[in-house]
């Protein structure tokens, strides 16, 4: 038997059943659907936090502005953008939870832009600042969602400009977003 044939028979992967099994913490009880009582308790607990959301949103926007001001141009490397990117990314993910989905969409556009351009040289800080100014303005004017015509127009303008400046893979592959990874 040649060495080749011998090695070809070797397993190329292992299937492992993990030794820990969390199913021990699940109980079948009569009824359909999800555990609504647990969900309701969690939703109520979240609602109890809502009084903080305005201040938290302001804090997130202040952090974005601070990180932008900390960027002294020209910057030496793409890594220098990391704190600013994380601040934008935090807003993208949290603004809707805090009741400001429009600000979240603007931050999303900003993140997509930064994902698509080549850092540090390919970025237009003028365009970045347009996003920051828009986020500051929607918070100041308390514009929550895109039912506001000015917010809608602003989102459209920024979105179209971003697609022109830096087409992003995100334009064509909108998320399955959630689920089994």
């Amino acid at each position: 038997m040649t060495a080749d044939r011998k090695s070809a028979k070797e397993p190329d992967h292992e299937v492992i059943v993990p030794p820990t099994d969390l199913r021990a913490f699940a109980k079948y009880i009569p009824g359909e659907g999800l555990d609504e009582a647990a969900l309701e308790r969690a939703e109520q607990a979240l609602q109890a936090l809502e009084g903080n959301f305005g201040a938290w949103m302001q804090h997130e926007v202040d952090a974005l502005v601070t990180e932008r001001e900390a960027l002294r141009l020209p910057v030496a490397s793409a890594r220098a953008f990391d704190p600013f990117y994380r601040a934008s990314h935090d807003l993208r993910g949290q603004a809707a939870t805090f009741g400001y989905p429009v600000a979240g969409e603007i931050a999303d556009n900003l993140c997509n832009y930064m994902d698509a351009v080549s850092l540090p040289d390919g970025i237009s800080m003028e365009f970045v600042d347009a996003h920051i100014n828009a986020i500051v303005a929607v918070l100041r004017e308390d514009v929550r969602d895109s039912s506001n015509p000015i917010a809608r127009a602003l989102l459209w303008e920024l979105g179209e400009a971003r697609k022109r400046f830096a087409p992003s893979p995100a334009d064509g592959d909108d998320a399955e977003a959630s689920g089994q990874a």
């Binding site: 070809a8 292992e14 647990a38 607990a45």
Partner: protein, 185 residues
Amino acid sequence: MIRIEFNKLRFLVIDDNAHMRRIVRTLLHGYGTREVYEAEDGASGLEAFTAYQPDIVITDWAMPIFDGIELASMIRQPGSNQNPYVPIIMLTGHSEKSRVIRARDSGVTEFLCKPISAKALYQRILSVVVNPRPFIKTKTYFGPDRRRGTSAHMGPERRKDGGGAAEITKIEPLYDKIKSGLRGS
């Protein structure tokens, strides 16, 4: 209906944003969880993972020092820690398909896109508790089976209390199986 005994589960939440940690912790306590540990970056997350041995890890992607993807890769090192099989739920503002695939390839179990909701987080937790997937180990990957719809249950239940050794099945390459089948026919 399935009811999860949240009061018996231990969670580790890793996110550099204090507001998001507070929201996730609030939801987990709302479900009935008692033990929720927190860390604010990948490095302290790994330390907390070793110290507290959580049943489920919920992590952000974008974090300083090392990010959620690097953290998942470090946890999924067979032999390097006590529970490389721990379910990892990635909670992130990223939503592109390419990101989901990258998370999956680093060994993440479930992907949850922000904004967060009580129901969406609950569903991810339910999924990792009730539908565990077998793990696959190759030269380049160690993590949950990346194919959808696979279940960990492969025959009679032999592990009543958890713990013990992993059950390992070695699989020869499909190509070789087919080849040897042809030779035999």
